[in-house]
Symmetry: C2
Subunit: 114 residues, 2 copies
């Protein structure tokens, strides 16, 4: 029961939906996401923790960065179905398209020197 609301609560935030849509393009580190969403690092980190706790993403540490990946191989059927809903053609928005463009453009080696 609580597990089920946890999934929807994780998706019930504009910035977290943007994060998931950006991760459809490629894995990202915290500072790349911070740059695109224009939020504080700490805020992004918390959003990622919520998405990870719900099972939608996982992280892999790579050198000095932590890369966040979409968890397309989750064994939770409901979480998987929800990820598929987000990838549906009708789940669309200008904001997501612009974010996706910026995901292609950002370079962590440039923008991650605070």
């Amino acid at each position: 029961m609580d597990d089920r609301t946890k999934l929807f609560k994780a998706l019930a935030d504009k910035n977290r939906l943007r994060i998931l849509k950006m991760l459809e393009v490629r894995p990202l580190c915290v500072c790349e996401i911070r740059e695109i969403l224009n939020l504080a690092n700490s805020t992004v980190s918390q959003h990622l923790a919520i998405l990870r706790d719900a099972g939608f993403i996982y992280d892999i540490k790579d050198n000095k960065w932590v890369n966040y990946h979409l968890n397309k191989r989750t064994d939770d059927d409901v979480a998987y179905a929800l990820l598929m809903v987000l990838q549906n053609r009708s789940f669309d928005d200008d904001v997501y398209r612009k974010d996706a463009e910026r995901v292609h453009q950002v370079d962590r080696n440039i923008l991650c020197n605070l």
Copy 2:
């Protein structure tokens, strides 16, 4: 964008998920839902307004009652896909099963005389 978060916000509440699962059994009026969820009428009414505003349910006035129905024919593909996720076999819980039993048992003519 906001429309998309509206859908997930509507589902991000334990009691609203229970309501949607109960409506899979049959249409219900406010006082029947109140009885099963053990909430105030006004609280149930607000939950129903949120679900209706998101497009998951609709209401039909019938005599002195307002019957709430699951909106399975919604033209919003995303809302439809989400309703289907809720009906998935793996979206399951003891709470929902017990609620469904009670839906079969309650009689609005008895319990709706506050």
